[in-house]
Symmetry: C2
Subunit: 250 residues, 2 copies
Amino acid sequence: MQQYFVKGKAEELVTITDKDTAKHMFSVMRLAEGDEVVLVFEDGIKRLARVVSSSQQQLEIVQELKDDVELPVQVTIASGFPKGDKLDFVTQKATELGAAGIWAYPADWSVVKWDSKKLAKKVEKLEKIAQGAAEQSKRNRLPDIRLFDKKADFLAQLAAFDKIFIAYEESAKAGEMARLAQELQAVEANQKILFIFGPEGGISPKEIETFEQAGGIPVGLGPRILRTETAPLYALSAVSYAVELTSRPD
Amino acid sequence: MQQYFVKGKAEELVTITDKDTAKHMFSVMRLAEGDEVVLVFEDGIKRLARVVSSSQQQLEIVQELKDDVELPVQVTIASGFPKGDKLDFVTQKATELGAAGIWAYPADWSVVKWDSKKLAKKVEKLEKIAQGAAEQSKRNRLPDIRLFDKKADFLAQLAAFDKIFIAYEESAKAGEMARLAQELQAVEANQKILFIFGPEGGISPKEIETFEQAGGIPVGLGPRILRTETAPLYALSAVSYAVELTSRPD
């Protein structure tokens, strides 16, 4: 069944005010009185809703649904600003794969320079991509999209995480490949996990030092060199496999 | 260091005959006498090679390298023909993630119809994409690319695999999520594993039956609905995580 995210709290009678959502519901899908869809408000609970009036874009809530497909841990990925439209791609795929946050920061070796005006526009675009992907993959939550203007603002966030992993190619080369699995076997429900990725050129030695000082653990993601836009997908899949598919002793 | 795949067996003196490779080496990278690159022949061994003559496109082998980044199991992914250019994307990413084979077949619910002429052209294009991705991710082997004209030809291949997994959305819904992890914990080195994916519309009930009769095991890839081009990336990441990153009792 078609699913839509709606801003705000759930009310018994809902008027769709977001233009894109209203257009998709009543122009594209041509929903009519009595048709049912799933609405997801900011509390993350899916609710079955029935169209009361298509001209007034009104729906009534029928019942709460139990379906919850969120990862049991909250995973944020943070990429060094990559070239071109790679963040669009990362946003769509990372949303499908369950990311709680999709962030990017100006890394030492980022080639692109984005000013705050450009960043604001890009956030808006990525939020739309994330919403589309979250609706299609039936998520309960929209990921938090943040593009940091200054690296210091990104660094100021690190203390909020329970675990920080630094995806570091040299860790793969050094054969430190068991580290991520060891750490993931010890994570607990609802913990906040951050994965930091470099841009195309990688993470600079100075950045590695900074991230490590903030508690970051360098980890390898297998022996093959992954492109900057592929590594986050590996990380999210690995977390899902470790915490959703693997039955653990605890 | 730049890496190139070369057809055939390794010889002490190598003449580059492939036009695209020669162009990249001597026009794009402007390799000159004495410059070193890594060559990978069909035996999958990386060899350090030194340019002897750029005008004659000749290199000499310096030494064998020990570097082997191939997955310890051979994973083939088979997608129902998807829409548009999705196979291009899947080919690039699956190559980075270590796929031994990237196949596609005409599924019951595939929307596109490709005739054999179109398929031959498409294989050629995908092989180029795979070669570029394999060189960048420093693979030892190029994946085997196959697009099956008839589903029967695909089905005839199933007996060659040690394990067949069917990525089936209903398995995720039914909560059968531990199955893949249980099976992956039991795989042995060099086993041949096949993952079968449906096109956008999914795998038909008749196909599920056929794949199951051939020994296929329906598995879920987490509770979120993944697009047809995202599911293979999850599967390959999960296999890498399970067999390369997780230390196992055996």
